[in-house]
């Protein structure tokens, strides 16, 4: 019986492995081949000339690019942090205290995606004008708009994570042990939705690094605007710089992924630690 069960388990695991391999291989081909095609194009010479990395080498010669990269990285950091601080506690709060507000929140967090960026700029321009005249017109103010832009994606990711854990029981248990709300959020909830938080951070950073329309129409020079500028030099450079931007964003996200201590599951140790801290 055990042998049969063992065999059953083995064949199931085999089926799973085959499934994984097929799916990931197919996905890999579908997603990486076009990038490869772009890279191949960017190394083409002009006319009959041989292959060259000239387009890639010329990227380093543009001085404005560094300033644009710095600005975009700062924007990415600010946007992600503000978004997480604003959205995650609110979502937990709504889940616990105001469940009736949930559909409204869902809709509010979908609204930024229903209006195309070029139209949204028309509405944002007066606000940015007022901000520019009264506070600052630094490029970093773009993060206010970016937080709104990233809401749909972040909300969906965090919602998936929160739905997978029993927020109510966890928070009640922690509160009954004497934990304050901050401890509940930071020590109990956050470690359990770390995958969701990381994914929403990914989406946020990638969105900011890839955002073009709003920055461009408000006449700010972020990374993508600078890339559009560079891309006009010649065909090879336009594609090389786009691929470089993808690789750059990829590297940033891989680095970000190391922030995830990823326990992923509620450990008894979390609650015990809370007990110890609260009891002093």
């Amino acid at each position: 019986m055990a042998a049969v069960r063992g065999g059953f388990q083995r064949s199931k695991r085999l089926k799973l492995q085959v499934f994984r391999t097929v799916v990931l291989l197919a996905a890999g081909i579908f997603f990486l081949v076009p990038i490869g095609a772009m890279f191949e194009f960017s190394t083409r010479g002009v006319g009959d000339k041989p292959r060259t990395l000239e387009a890639w080498q010329s990227i380093g010669t543009y001085p404005d690019l560094v300033a644009a990269i710095t600005a975009s990285l700062e924007l990415a950091a600010i946007t992600t942090i503000v978004m997480l601080v604003l959205l995650a506690p609110t979502m937990v709060w709504v889940r616990l205290k105001l469940p009736g507000l949930s559909p409204i929140m869902e809709f509010v967090c979908l609204l930024p995606l229903t209006i195309p960026a070029i139209v949204l700029v028309v509405g944002l321009a007066p606000i940015y004008n007022w901000m520019g005249n009264n506070f600052s017109d630094s490029i970093l103010t773009l993060s206010f708009a970016y937080v709104v832009l990233v809401l749909p994606y972040a909300y969906r990711s965090l919602e998936a994570g929160l739905a997978a854990i029993d927020v109510k029981t966890l928070s009640e248990a922690a509160r009954s042990l004497g934990a304050g709300w901050l401890t509940v959020m930071w020590r109990i909830i956050v470690p359990n939705i770390s995958s969701a938080i990381l994914n929403s951070a990914f989406l946020s950073v990638a969105l900011v690094l890839g955002e073009y329309t709003i920055a461009n129409n408000l006449l700010y020079n972020n990374l993508q605007v600078e890339i559009a500028f560079l891309g006009r030099a010649n065909a090879g450079v336009s594609i090389a710089v786009a691929v470089a931007s993808l690789v750059f964003a990829f590297v940033i996200l891989v680095l970000l992924s190391f922030f995830n201590r990823g326990r992923g599951r509620l450990q008894l140790a979390d609650l015990q630690q809370v007990m110890r801290t609260e009891r002093g």
């Binding site: 994984r20 799916v23 076009p34 616990l96 509010v108 229903t114 994606y153 998936a160």
Partner: protein, 301 residues
């Protein structure tokens, strides 16, 4: 000890002292978010949507909405809804499969890290460059097309479908699938392996597991992600504009045409009216989605 018995959320209406005090306190928790959203989302939205009832001279009018019946607008609306629905559903299914392939793997592994990072990057990849990536691959001068043509398989024999809606749908999937992976994976991560074992020990097979255990748990997240994919595709502009610059089959291209350009096609009120139409459509789809949510949770119970 005294707190242990008291529920965290008050379920009874009416205890006047506590009930009356609790509601305002509860709302305070949402104030930061609502205040932020009021300034940076509601205000611009009102400015935009409100502008649709004004004409060029600033007087109130509904003429912008009457323009919505223009043939090319109606056609673009229907095509965009169809395109978005297709890429949302197909993207959701394929994305869920890829997410599952990652979720059953090592949660700390390199593969997961790399796949998620790539997904993050590609979910926000679009525009002229994405269009060119596909043009360079399966376009009329792309190496895959040329290789196939050499082997007597001309995929553009009837029409260059890459530059039509089918091609656009394929290109849209390129960012829809990674987006699905990112927003659906946390739900898959919440599935505990013990549940699978429990189902099996009770004699249930794969079908029972998915139908009665994992399915009901994942359905809300799956539907929600599909909705997101729909909205994402619906408002996408740059990729469609690069691939199908003539004919403007997608509604966001029509908006852009009314707000930008060189030849005096500037109709800001009309562009805002189209935006109102888009918001209404997505609202209707959201209502449909919440009805579906409720129905599904009842079916799967």
């Amino acid at each position: 000890m005294t707190i242990a018995g008291a529920p965290a959320v008050s379920t009874t209406a009416g205890r006047p002292l506590l009930g009356g005090r609790r509601l305002p306190l509860d709302w305070i928790g949402t104030v930061p978010f609502l205040a932020y959203v009021a300034v940076f989302l509601f205000l611009p939205t009102v400015i935009v949507l409100g502008g649709s009832v004004f004409d060029a001279n600033g007087s109130l009018t509904l003429v912008n909405f009457s323009h919505l019946s223009r043939v090319y607008i109606v056609k673009a609306t229907i095509q965009t809804i169809g395109l978005s629905a297709f890429t949302a559903v197909v993207g959701a299914i394929l994305g869920a499969l890829v997410a599952y392939a990652i979720a059953v793997g090592n949660p700390q592994g390199l593969l997961r890290r790399l796949t998620l990072s790539v997904s993050g990057v590609l979910a926000q990849f679009g525009g002229v460059t994405l269009a060119f990536a596909f043009i360079a691959t399966i376009g009329p001068a792309g190496f895959v097309y040329l290789w196939l043509a050499q082997h007597h398989a001309d995929i553009y024999a009837r029409s260059t479908w890459l530059f039509e809606l089918p091609g656009l749908a394929l290109v849209y999937l390129y960012f829809q699938i990674p987006l699905m992976v990112l927003v659906f994976l946390p739900a898959l991560d919440g599935i505990k392996p013990q549940w699978r074992e429990a189902t099996e020990s009770l004699g249930g097979g794969t079908w029972h597991y998915w139908r009665y255990v994992a399915g009901p748990l994942l359905a809300p997240a799956f539907l929600g992600a599909t909705l997101l994919l729909f909205a994402n595709s619906f408002s996408a502009y740059a990729t469609a504009n690069a691939l199908i610059n003539q004919g403007q089959p997608v509604i966001s291209q029509q908006i852009n045409g009314a707000l930008s350009g060189e030849v005096g096609s500037f109709e800001p009120g009309f562009a805002k009216a189209i935006a109102v139409e888009m918001v209404i459509i997505v609202t209707l789809v959201t209502v449909l989605y919440s009805l579906l949510q409720r129905r599904t949770s009842r079916w799967l119970q």
